[in-house]
């Protein structure tokens, strides 16, 4: 069986006495978008810098397409398209000048060079600014120039450090569309601290905190870890029946019932994350309560994120995918 596009094994990085990355292992498969999450300073960028060969690791192994990054840095860099944090570029150059430079370095010549430049300008939607110096562009355009640079050689592996950071909602949407389009045949690793992004584009998420891996699984598995997962919110028409709270609490698999600020709303919390909506609606029907709305929560990513990244303890879910 072919090895995953990116394999990271027990990766470590120390800066003096400070351990930035502490034994992180994960892999990224072809055709997969892996979301790399964690609080600021958790070691996301450091890990990405080691995968792209910018930083040397202090221990562990990184293989890209089966090649050790330390031993074959140039071959690895040829296979990777990298958007560093903040999308740095040569600001005084025009967009075409800059992409031309990248094409030269990547060894494209003549018509192929022109084709590559035009194709990445089209994909990154840069047509309107090609002759402008990069310094004069808006943040959104600068980010897209960084993207264009990263995809110019149609790399099998794309690594993007916070590709949507600081963009407005429309720009975020465009960048996500672009990533999803490319996802079919590439291995894509994106770091973010925007949780909605994980649901929007990622097939799998890896969370690190304080340099350690604390989660590796699907976004759905991440949501399932929420205490809110499968909680049922009932909004009653008119007033709240007196016995409702008591009767709902008595159901099997219900861990508790919370009263919302709104007087006619109850949140029924499940025990062990199992689905309770069937029981709850049956009870409502049997009792003949008039209700306006029933809503099943999928789980609060923010809450899970805070819980598993704040105390530094590993959530031992293994690979839930």
């Amino acid at each position: 069986m072919m090895e995953s596009a990116i394999v990271v094994e027990s990766l470590r990085k120390e800066f003096g006495a400070f351990t930035a990355v502490d034994g992180v292992s994960f892999d990224v498969n072809r055709g997969e978008v892996l979301g790399f999450l964690g609080p600021n300073g958790a070691g996301k960028s450091t890990t990405m810098k080691m995968i792209t060969g910018f930083l040397a690791s202090s221990g562990g192994q990184i293989r890209v397409d089966g090649l050790d990054v330390g031993k074959y840095p140039t071959q690895v860099k040829q296979r990777i398209g990298y958007l560093p944090e903040g999308a740095p570029a040569y600001g005084e150059m025009t967009v075409t000048g800059f992409l031309g430079f990248i094409a030269d370095i990547r060894g494209f010549r003549g018509t192929e060079k022109q084709d590559r430049i035009h194709s990445s300008i089209r994909k990154a939607n840069l047509g309107s600014v090609i002759h402008k110096p990069i310094d004069t562009l808006s943040k959104g355009f600068k980010r897209r120039v960084g993207l264009a640079q990263a995809i110019l050689h149609d790399p099998p592996i794309l690594i993007m450090d916070e590709p949507t950071d600081g963009l407005d909602p429309n720009q975020k949407h465009e960048v996500r569309e672009l990533i999803s389009e490319m996802a079919r045949d590439k291995a894509i690793l994106i770091s973010t601290h925007i949780l909605e992004e994980v649901n929007a584009i990622c097939d799998r998420a890896v969370i690190i905190a304080q340099g350690r891996l604390v989660f590796n699984g699907t976004p759905q598995a991440l949501e399932a870890m929420s205490r809110q997962h499968n909680a049922v919110t009932i909004t009653f028409a008119g007033g709240l029946p007196d016995i409702a709270e008591q009767r709902l609490s008595a159901l099997d698999n219900v861990a508790g019932v919370n009263r919302e600020q709104a007087l006619n709303r109850l949140i029924v919390m499940p025990g062990g994350g199992v689905s309770i909506v069937g029981q709850v609606t049956r009870l409502v029907r049997d009792e003949g309560w008039e209700i306006e709305e029933v809503y099943v929560a999928t789980g609060q990513l923010d809450e899970v994120f805070r819980r598993i990244t704040s105390h530094g303890g590993s959530v031992d879910e293994g690979d839930l995918s």
Partner: protein, 244 residues
């Protein structure tokens, strides 16, 4: 086109897309004129040579070359573009060589633009043109030596002002290492062979030796190994400091 050539082209083009090239060339030519004709008293000497032109070049380069080299790496580190550059499929030496050669070629262009001075001396007299040519070659090699120092220093800091000042100081030491001012410092406590070595490291001594109009292998070896050593240090500095 190889990666070195791509970097070379980008860097050289960069001088001309920003005002750097024009400011540098205008000031370089103006100061060369001032030193040659006024400070050096070229007309008063009534000799058909470019002695006064070359005499002031070590001093002129001392301030102008670090101004050119200070941004080579410091700017990359400050803007973060070094992360982009060093994650492209190139080796560090290719980047160092491309940048250095671009800066050196640019100083070559500036130096060639002093040709009106050469035309003047040929119009007014009959100079020994081969001597002048060797002088130009010596001047160009000296510029390369200063640039190699400046490029290396620039990799150690993200602050261009610091890169400039430190490069000036180091160039100043190598400019004067053949003079009593520097040698007296070491005379008391270093053995004579080491003193001779320090004296032999003087850029000015080797430059002056070329001004006599003879290309001595020792001078060439000095300049090329000087440039080579500093560029090697430059590569190491980039490797060490790129991610700081």
């Amino acid at each position: 086109m190889s990666a070195t050539a791509a970097i070379f082209r980008r860097e050289l083009g960069n001088y001309f897309t920003t005002p750097v090239a024009y400011v540098f060339i205008v000031i370089f030519l103006a100061l060369n004129g001032v030193f040659t004709f006024y400070v050096g008293g070229w007309y008063e000497r009534e000799q058909a040579d470019l002695q006064t032109f070359f005499d002031y070049q070590p001093l002129l380069y001392l301030f102008l070359i670090p101004a050119l080299s200070m941004r080579l790496w410091a700017e990359e580190r400050k803007s973060g573009s070094i992360e982009l550059l060093m994650t492209l499929p190139i080796s560090t030496w290719q980047a160092v060589a491309g940048k250095f050669l671009a800066a050196w070629t640019f100083t070559g262009i500036a130096l060639m633009l002093t040709f009106p001075i050469w035309l003047t001396v040929n119009y007014l007299g009959n100079p020994d043109n081969p001597v002048i040519l060797v002088g130009y070659i010596g001047s160009y090699l000296m510029a390369g030596a200063y640039l190699a120092v400046g490029s290396c220093v620039s990799a150690f800091t993200r602050n261009q002002v610091i890169a400039f000042v430190i490069a000036v100081v180091i160039c100043f030491v190598f400019m004067l290492s053949g003079t009593p001012m520097v040698l007296d410092l070491f005379q008391a406590w270093l053995p004579q062979p080491l003193i001779n070595t320090i004296s032999g490291m003087s850029i000015t001594t080797h430059f002056n030796s070329m001004l006599k109009g003879v290309i001595d292998l020792r001078d060439l070896v000095f300049f090329f190994s000087f440039i080579g050593c500093w560029l090697l240090a430059n590569i190491i500095a980039v490797e060490m400091k790129k991610s700081d």
